[in-house]
Symmetry: D3
Subunit: 224 residues, 6 copies
Amino acid sequence: MKLVIKVTGKFFDDLGDKAPLSASIKSLVEEGHRVALVTGGGSTARKYIGLGRSLQLNEASLDLLGIWVARLNAFLMAMSMPDLAYAKVPENLEQFLEYWGHGKVVVVGGFQPGQSTAAVSALVAEAISADYLIMVTTVEGVFDSDPKKNPNAKFLPRVTTAQLKTILESSQSVKAGTYELLDPMAMKIVERSKIRVIVTNVDRIGKITRILKGEEIASIVEPV
Amino acid sequence: MKLVIKVTGKFFDDLGDKAPLSASIKSLVEEGHRVALVTGGGSTARKYIGLGRSLQLNEASLDLLGIWVARLNAFLMAMSMPDLAYAKVPENLEQFLEYWGHGKVVVVGGFQPGQSTAAVSALVAEAISADYLIMVTTVEGVFDSDPKKNPNAKFLPRVTTAQLKTILESSQSVKAGTYELLDPMAMKIVERSKIRVIVTNVDRIGKITRILKGEEIASIVEPV
Amino acid sequence: MKLVIKVTGKFFDDLGDKAPLSASIKSLVEEGHRVALVTGGGSTARKYIGLGRSLQLNEASLDLLGIWVARLNAFLMAMSMPDLAYAKVPENLEQFLEYWGHGKVVVVGGFQPGQSTAAVSALVAEAISADYLIMVTTVEGVFDSDPKKNPNAKFLPRVTTAQLKTILESSQSVKAGTYELLDPMAMKIVERSKIRVIVTNVDRIGKITRILKGEEIASIVEPV
Amino acid sequence: MKLVIKVTGKFFDDLGDKAPLSASIKSLVEEGHRVALVTGGGSTARKYIGLGRSLQLNEASLDLLGIWVARLNAFLMAMSMPDLAYAKVPENLEQFLEYWGHGKVVVVGGFQPGQSTAAVSALVAEAISADYLIMVTTVEGVFDSDPKKNPNAKFLPRVTTAQLKTILESSQSVKAGTYELLDPMAMKIVERSKIRVIVTNVDRIGKITRILKGEEIASIVEPV
Amino acid sequence: MKLVIKVTGKFFDDLGDKAPLSASIKSLVEEGHRVALVTGGGSTARKYIGLGRSLQLNEASLDLLGIWVARLNAFLMAMSMPDLAYAKVPENLEQFLEYWGHGKVVVVGGFQPGQSTAAVSALVAEAISADYLIMVTTVEGVFDSDPKKNPNAKFLPRVTTAQLKTILESSQSVKAGTYELLDPMAMKIVERSKIRVIVTNVDRIGKITRILKGEEIASIVEPV
Amino acid sequence: MKLVIKVTGKFFDDLGDKAPLSASIKSLVEEGHRVALVTGGGSTARKYIGLGRSLQLNEASLDLLGIWVARLNAFLMAMSMPDLAYAKVPENLEQFLEYWGHGKVVVVGGFQPGQSTAAVSALVAEAISADYLIMVTTVEGVFDSDPKKNPNAKFLPRVTTAQLKTILESSQSVKAGTYELLDPMAMKIVERSKIRVIVTNVDRIGKITRILKGEEIASIVEPV
Ligand SMILES: Nc1ncnc2c1ncn2[C@@H]1O[C@H](COP(=O)(O)OP(=O)(O)OP(=O)(O)O)[C@@H](O)[C@H]1O
Ligand SMILES: Nc1ncnc2c1ncn2[C@@H]1O[C@H](COP(=O)(O)OP(=O)(O)OP(=O)(O)O)[C@@H](O)[C@H]1O
Ligand SMILES: Nc1ncnc2c1ncn2[C@@H]1O[C@H](COP(=O)(O)OP(=O)(O)OP(=O)(O)O)[C@@H](O)[C@H]1O
Ligand SMILES: Nc1ncnc2c1ncn2[C@@H]1O[C@H](COP(=O)(O)OP(=O)(O)OP(=O)(O)O)[C@@H](O)[C@H]1O
Ligand SMILES: Nc1ncnc2c1ncn2[C@@H]1O[C@H](COP(=O)(O)OP(=O)(O)OP(=O)(O)O)[C@@H](O)[C@H]1O
Ligand SMILES: [Co+2]
Ligand SMILES: [Co+2]
Ligand SMILES: [Co+2]
Ligand SMILES: [Co+2]
Ligand SMILES: [Co+2]
Ligand SMILES: [Co+2]
Ligand SMILES: [Mg+2]
Ligand SMILES: [Mg+2]
């Protein structure tokens, strides 16, 4: 299968070991899957966006700072899999397609201002006609409202894109570094190309095979 | 002033003379403005998207075909201003910024699947903190509904982004080559960076200075 | 075997299905051949050259417009074989050699002003020491005069480069977009590197294996 | 004059305002100087080198992580001077020379494993035949031993490269991220091309003109 | 005026001072001309082509070796004019056009197998609509037969392209490294774009202004 | 095993056949090893450095000339192994890593001013975690003093890096083109990453397998 795995930037916030992610991708490859990995920016991105804001950079430049940090996280993961991963981080979709043609794992940070790394992962999934886009987040999956804000949010094991859109609509924002789950661009791509999305928690990063079999907690978003 | 001019791809559909566009940009530069030009793909883009669809390409690849044609139109215009324009068409925003730093007119086609050339022009306008984004279209300006579908559509000389969003909402589509006026990505950029947008007709391509003075028919979209 | 297939730009003029070309290359690869594909520009190239001429571009720029369209056709075909073809169209011979080293089908449009796509295909054939250069044209093969101008032209199943040179000499022209069959540059490369050239009709695009076996109408040009 | 300013990575460690650095460079340019800026990696570099080490990356890869962070700092500063600085961060000396030829401020992070950003700044200074290499550090200037380790270290307003070499010799180390002041590579370049080096404190980042006039605390290293 | 100066590779064969060439270009620039310089490969090219031939490389690869050496000569001259010349040697015509747009002297070696550096200089002259293409050779100008082979060859101060073609026709060869004066490709470009060519001797490299005024020995080739 | 082979530039000085080197690498690859080849510049490098010096280029530019020639030698060897070697010569370590990921032989000339090709080979060996770095020189191996200067120098079959450092210390110089055996940068990399170095004579270029088995004259440098 062709899999796109998008990992929250928060995974890179602390100094905890990142080896489980490399190991997880390694075993997926050994099982015969092709994998593209997309990394977010996390707190380092927010630090640099903060520095940029105090230098009065415009929104495009702030987004570019966040993109650079996401690429740094991508580079770290690529370096951790020297035999498996393409040695460079593609900086746009055309470059991604060129590297992907090499039969290797391709690790991606951001592409362009104005879109989240979720949108990047949707673009990548569409371009390779991926079987699944797996979003590895800080929450358990999709809830009926933001679980970080609402402790009573209800976990949804299965949700349509239409339902998800209604849930997210109120909470979206487009200031640099503040997109959530699936921004409108990501949603559009997922819908027009009917990409199947799985949302799960970063704790389960080592269990992607089990997730694909439905043996781990995760939500599945069905495009309709 | 820093101006981004987005010209409809339909301008390149026939064999009519394209010199008025080069001349218009030349005189803007001579008046001391800096200009970025963004070109759409038009019927040639649609032809290639059609060829691609019969080859069963996915949406991302179809968009890339449209992007290539938009870049071809951009290249034609750049070649027509050898002393004024940067000799290469940037293929993403980072490249655009590099070329823009050369003090020349930069001519852009598309950047990335999933977004219209209108979104490209908004990204460019944001990145350079443009004074105006001028959309040169096949219609007179903004109407209260699509004038191509509704002959009774009313011309709106002034409209807020909020109003425009309401007007466009129903009619948006994201199949390759079918975006209209401002797609959601373009709208978002315009809103978050408060970019002033002017919409006018391709017949007035030689009168941009007059448009900026409010002496020609055009709509102004105010970000709020 | 190593094969270079040069397809006339006219193949891309209408909206007819281009799948037979992809299919043909696919089966050649499955039979164990390595394939480079070179595409011409066709009527879209002529359209843009016309637009350029009315903008008073010089010959070099007009050729570049034709080259861009040839590359667009090349990109279309590359996208139609995502598993087989290198995802980028090389823009010069050095880039071609880099991509060719990846073991994939490489699809090429033009390289440089002043030479036809026939010359491009000869350069490519020489650089990879190809077994055959197959020119897929709008005619049945080589005739004793241009069959488009002379209805009594006689088909020649076998011709030496020396004979062909005599036949073509009178009719050659170097205005952008008007080269025919083999321009002088192509001829020279074919001669100095003794490249075997086969000329056949675009209708037989799905029968290249049969052509190689001599079971289909085609002319063979022998370098001497 | 042609100036290379190397700023310690520690300058980017906190969220304090970085505007004094941009302002300082801006006024140097307005005074007619040409400026290249080289930024270190600081604590973010050390964080990523730590992450890399727990992933068991080799020394070359760890250095590359530090280089990426230095480039991120460089990019931040380049973005803060959109009218003055070249919009891209060069990744090696040849690229640096290309950008430098544009007459703009060029901002550089690291180039290559095995050398400190001090070596990068010496390479840059040599390549442009700079008048001064100004090292903006966390200390007041050159001391007769490392002032961070020895509170009784004596400040040296003037020192030859030969003397400095003797002072630094014992304390040098080449583990990624642990070079100090001038590593052997930097020293060699400084010596062979007789580059004049000034060492001063990051607090005086806004007073470089005064430093050049000898009106601020700083050490000058004379090549002999 | 826009001038293209093509210097024989033999100029780089010995260790004699190359400063007169840099000085000559410098004074042309100071007089207000724009200059592109094209360098041949000379004996070092022939050495490497010889090494390649004993390694049984094909003609394309041999030409590439000669091209690399021509680029090395170009790089030497570019480095000798750090304030005047673009710091990189373009490797194809599109890159040349990009660098040329920077307003600097651009120094070129070869572009592509199958053509001489004379063809390169003609392509460059056409692309920038040059006023003159000045060929700086080992002979005094154009003769009625090759002066190296025929001591009685008659010097021709003025010759049409048609006449020159007749003169050269017999002696042309296309083995790597053996083109002379104007190869067929160069001739074609010169003819189709009516480029005025001046042929003179390398001894007069410091007198190009005088040559342009007709005050030094040189032949002028008139395109008809 | 992963092997880095560094061949002295002097190997390319004469017109003698270079096929034994290609053949040697071919057989190493057939035995299952991965190979990176690093070539020096030799007398052609010295010629161009001489030309540059008479043009008063600075040390950085002189080094770049030497680097270009080393790359030319690298390109020659890459072209001689079209099926085995990556078709381009990487110009820095990051590019090297990208090409190396393709599973091919990668041939490298120089990277950057201020370091010898020996340093380049050490950087490459470190980056790929090579098993051995094999230095193919004009001498038999390591001696207790420079055998070119001291005819009584004693051959050392086994030496530690610490011992070698002591031996070389006095004789090192950093003028362009005059580094010897292992410059300080190379030494540092070898030490910090504990790279095993073998030094042997260019006459044994066809016997690398035997050298690895200890069956040919060579010195081994042990990092301690
Ligand atoms: N309310 C509206 N007011 C004005 N135009 C509208 C409105 N709703 C839809 N449109 C459409 O927006 C289009 C804007 O013109 P334009 O030619 O730029 O289209 P385009 O598809 O973006 O072109 P291209 O992508 O080829 O550059 C018109 O075709 C118009 O019919
Ligand atoms: N003696 C000849 N035998 C065969 N074809 C000839 C001869 N002389 C001229 N021609 C012309 O050569 C052309 C070869 O066909 P083809 O379609 O490949 O042309 P093309 O101009 O190279 O196309 P493109 O440049 O768009 O790829 C035909 O148009 C044919 O009329
Ligand atoms: N004799 C000395 N005189 C002055 N500084 C010394 C001396 N010996 C060692 N040092 C150290 O050199 C360092 C120079 O400061 P700086 O902040 O530039 O360090 P750095 O490691 O190069 O930073 P970065 O690599 O992040 O840019 C100081 O930390 C200082 O302690
Ligand atoms: N009729 C002619 N008049 C003048 N020169 C001629 C003629 N026929 C042949 N030649 C040759 O053309 C060559 C032009 O000189 P030049 O040194 O430029 O040669 P080149 O091979 O192009 O050099 P490079 O390729 O190394 O740049 C001379 O060697 C000369 O002998
Ligand atoms: N103690 C020593 N043992 C062996 N060689 C030594 C020693 N000291 C100096 N050398 C010199 O090191 C050189 C190593 O040979 P090699 O040909 O590789 O030189 P090189 O300068 O690195 O070549 P290039 O830079 O052109 O690749 C010899 O010229 C040798 O004289
Ligand atoms: Co559109
Ligand atoms: Co530039
Ligand atoms: Co440091
Ligand atoms: Co020549
Ligand atoms: Co590749
Ligand atoms: Co050496
Ligand atoms: Mg043709
Ligand atoms: Mg040497």
